[in-house]
């Protein structure tokens, strides 16, 4: 029986009013400002920008506040806002070789030109809770040292002098855009990279870890990891040339992967690439490992059936907004669906019961 149900408006309104109150918390405690979130929870802001796929620190901070710190909910808010913006165009591809690096390290070359620059990192901290932060305190000024103004070359450039590393030849094919066309298989590398850079950090990390543990192992080293700001240039139709329209902070990871050669490629080091908005190093490394795993076909490697080699599986499950949308919808009213399931189970039980009675009688 189908029953149309209306109602719940009052309950919904009241629930949202209570949500607003709970979000604010105890009013004896000072309210968080957007600027505080932007400045002091910047890594959360960066994650929301990366997975929300919209670079705007103030909006990401607002989303975090509104979502009560639930980052996936905040990403959802950013994605929804993003769809309301008219798109004025696409930038020139950013040149990460021009990056003003805050951090730049290589796990493969100790003495690289430009040096190992640690930057503001959690690495080498003791991971002990710092109770000084629980009390108000002045932060000592970070030391500085004379810095050159030269940009630092990519590590792969000098490994390549021996021809030992796979090249990434210049190409100007316009990339497909999954925000305009549905993501369909087969997905070329440009589409995979777009999907991965906005993919859920946890999912990407898990997949990357699975390749390290042996599910499609590809022996990755971090050839280079760099974090810093790069200028963004866009062609302005009114002017007829490209101008700088801003600057974004990016994290770039290039992995160098052992490769013994295949039917089509000589033994060499191959590469995986990760590039993500903001200071998002775990995500960028994960992205590079998964990118490399997904390249098995173009490198002529065997598909060993590892999850990280399965493009369709990876790309269709990496987006946390799609995932959470479908997952969380099952908590919304399904009374009618469930009613029909209930009828079915009752019928099956009646039939099974009748059969048993019959068997007992025979």
């Amino acid at each position: 029986m189908y029953v149309a149900v209306k109602g719940g408006e009052r309950a919904i309104e009241n629930a949202h009013a209570w949500l607003a109150e709970e979000r604010r918390g105890n009013t004896d405690v000072a309210e968080l400002s957007i600027a505080q979130i932007r400045e002091q929870l910047s890594l959360a802001v960066n994650r929301v920008m990366a997975e929300g796929s919209l670079y705007d620190p103030d909006l990401a901070a607002l989303a975090i506040k509104q979502a009560q710190g639930d980052l996936i909910e905040a990403i959802f808010l950013i994605r929804a806002y993003r769809t309301t913006l008219p798109r004025f165009g696409a930038s020139e591809p950013v040149d990460t070789g021009m990056m003003a690096c805050d951090r730049r390290i290589s796990a493969t070359f100790k003495d690289l030109p430009g040096g190992q620059v640690l930057g503001p990192t959690f690495d080498y901290t003791h991971r002990l809770l710092d109770f000084k932060l629980a009390a108000d305190g002045e932060v000592p000024k970070a030391p500085s040292r004379d810095a050159g103004t030269a940009t630092v070359p990519h590590v792969t450039e000098f490994l390549n002098r021996e021809g030992l590393i796979e090249e990434a030849p210049h190409d100007d094919t316009p990339p497909p855009d999954l925000t305009r066309e549905p993501l369909e298989m087969p997905a070329d590398r440009a589409l995979r990279l777009q999907a991965l850079t906005r993919a859920d950090e946890g999912f990407t990390l898990g997949l990357a870890y699975s390749t390290q543990r042996g599910y499609g192992r590809n022996h990755a080293f971090v050839g280079e990891l760099r974090i810093g700001s790069v200028p963004v240039e866009m062609d302005i139709p009114e002017l007829g040339f490209a101008v700088e329209i801003g600057e974004v902070i990016l994290t770039e990871c290039e992995t160098v992967n052992q490769f013994t050669g295949s039917k089509t490629e000589p033994p060499q080091f191959t590469r995986g690439y990760g590039l993500v908005f903001g200071q998002t190093e775990r995500k960028a490394i994960s992205m590079a490992l998964v990118d490399r795993a997904l390249r098995w076909e173009e490198l002529g490697e065997d598909n060993v059936g590892a999850p990280a080699q399965d493009t369709e599986f990876v790309l269709y499950h990496a987006d946390n907004i799609q995932a959470t949308g479908f997952l969380e919808h099952i908590k919304l009213p399904h009374y009618v669906d469930f009613q029909s399931e209930l009828e079915l189970v009752r019928k099956l039980r009646r039939e099974a019961g009748a059969q048993q009675v019959q068997e007992a009688a025979e």
Partner: protein, 137 residues
């Protein structure tokens, strides 16, 4: 235009208003908030891919004397877009050298100082390796 696009919020307005009173203008395109798709290259040098969008604000205006100013700036500040377009237009007038000195140069210097301070902090975290004497003898 790059300088104007990257200036901290309200900075261009402060510099311009300290120097001149703003001339009258008419909008060719009132400030509009939108996005641009930021692209990058696979492996830094290979085929382009779409990295994600960034917010930008654009506008265009014309001065009473006919000069047209455009602006495309990062973020969502319509006031900043307006003043950037105004400076762009004024840079085509006789005021150009005055504004270069009063607006663009301080802007450039301010941003260079900020960049240098960051670079200096980064340089302080550069690792100086040293090799321990090996005990082979």
């Amino acid at each position: 235009m790059g300088l104007l696009a990257k200036a901290p919020e309200g900075r261009v307005a402060a510099l311009l208003d300290a120097e001149i009173s703003r001339p009258a203008f008419t909008w060719l395109r009132a400030p509009e908030i939108g996005s641009t798709m930021v692209r990058a290259r696979a492996g830094a040098t290979g085929a382009p891919f779409n990295l994600g969008e960034m917010t930008i604000t654009r506008c265009a205006l014309t001065l009473e004397t006919g000069e047209v100013g455009h602006s495309y700036i990062q973020g969502r500040s319509k006031a900043d877009a307006e003043v950037a377009a105004l400076v762009d237009a004024l840079m085509q007038t006789a005021m150009a050298s005055r504004l270069r000195e009063a607006v663009l140069e301080p802007l450039e210097a301010g941003m260079a100082t900020m960049k240098a301070a960051r670079a200096a902090k980064a340089a302080a975290t550069k690792v100086d390796f040293f090799t321990m004497t090996r005990g082979e003898d």
